[in-house]
Symmetry: C2
Subunit: 175 residues, 2 copies
């Protein structure tokens, strides 16, 4: 659909001047086991944690992670780094409620079974075949392999809480 048709869809408005400088900064998901999720997001997908805040009274911790090509762009100074990350798009916030990792029956809801709502995160990659072969070799759980179903150009993997993560390669969608 052309851009002008997209902008003519029912409901679509021209952005007001007041929204200038707004940034879609982050998406927050709750995780059962923080160390396990940090391992998954840093090792499998290349994220870097850039901020952590503990709330001992309310017994939870939050960690912000970014996916950057070069860690050198991350400010060293703590206050500067926090201000930087809150102005970036594409930040992932993990919330860990303390103790859930010790409760064997505890599980979060991934949103793709009833009651549905949130669907997935998506990481785009330079080479989707190569990325999926690497995930396979590293033992990542697949929700949908490239070869499953009709859409052969996208895959879905699952994080440690079974949240779905779409994997796609921008160019392959077009081809």
């Amino acid at each position: 659909m052309s851009l002008s048709h997209l902008l003519d869809m029912p409901g679509v408005n021209t952005p007001e001047a007041a929204t200038r400088g707004y940034v879609f900064n982050h998406t927050m998901i709750r995780v059962k086991d923080l160390a396990r999720s940090l391992d998954f997001y840093t090792r499998m997908l290349g994220f870097t944690p850039v901020h952590r805040q503990d709330f001992p009274d309310a017994a939870f911790t939050i960690v912000y992670l970014v996916l950057v090509a070069d860690r050198a762009i991350i400010p060293e100074d703590d206050a500067a780094r926090l201000q930087w990350v809150l102005g970036q798009p594409g930040v992932l916030e993990l919330t860990h409620n303390h103790g859930t990792e010790h409760d064997e029956s505890f599980r979060y809801h991934h949103g793709n079974a009833e009651p549905r709502g949130f669907g997935h995160l998506c990481v785009s990659v330079p080479d989707v075949e190569e990325a999926c072969a690497r995930f396979e070799a590293m033992g990542v759980t697949f929700q949908k392999r490239l070869t499953d179903g009709r859409m052969k150009h996208i895959a879905f993997i699952r994080d440690p809480d079974d949240y779905w993560i779409e994997i796609l390669q921008p160019a392959s969608i077009i081809a």
Copy 2:
């Protein structure tokens, strides 16, 4: 917490070279009424729809939206625009299952009541007081006003499906 302490947290790995070029591209949420959600995200928050795909057999539609300071950076050509958006961080994908908008009792699950999982999206703004006053004037539903609770520097508004959207100003967190 210093960056070196963050990188020493249990579970954290140094990104592998294989993850170079990975981008945290988008977050997908299901919406009951596409036109109503498009109105909310474009009018209240300044998003622009850049891609729409209809799946008539499976009776659903997806729309990708971006929050950019200047629409001139969005490619005009359809294929170029799709390739561009799939390489951007901070994209919002709305999925609309056709017909839900006509079912008065239909509701999606926002994730902050049981069963919990996904928590919220966050839009950072240059001036959180000004942004919240504008939302108030436009009749946006608040989950938490700046004046509610202990955290006076953040607010939460609700989108038409009651998904929570955190509103914050990077500088005010530091001060």
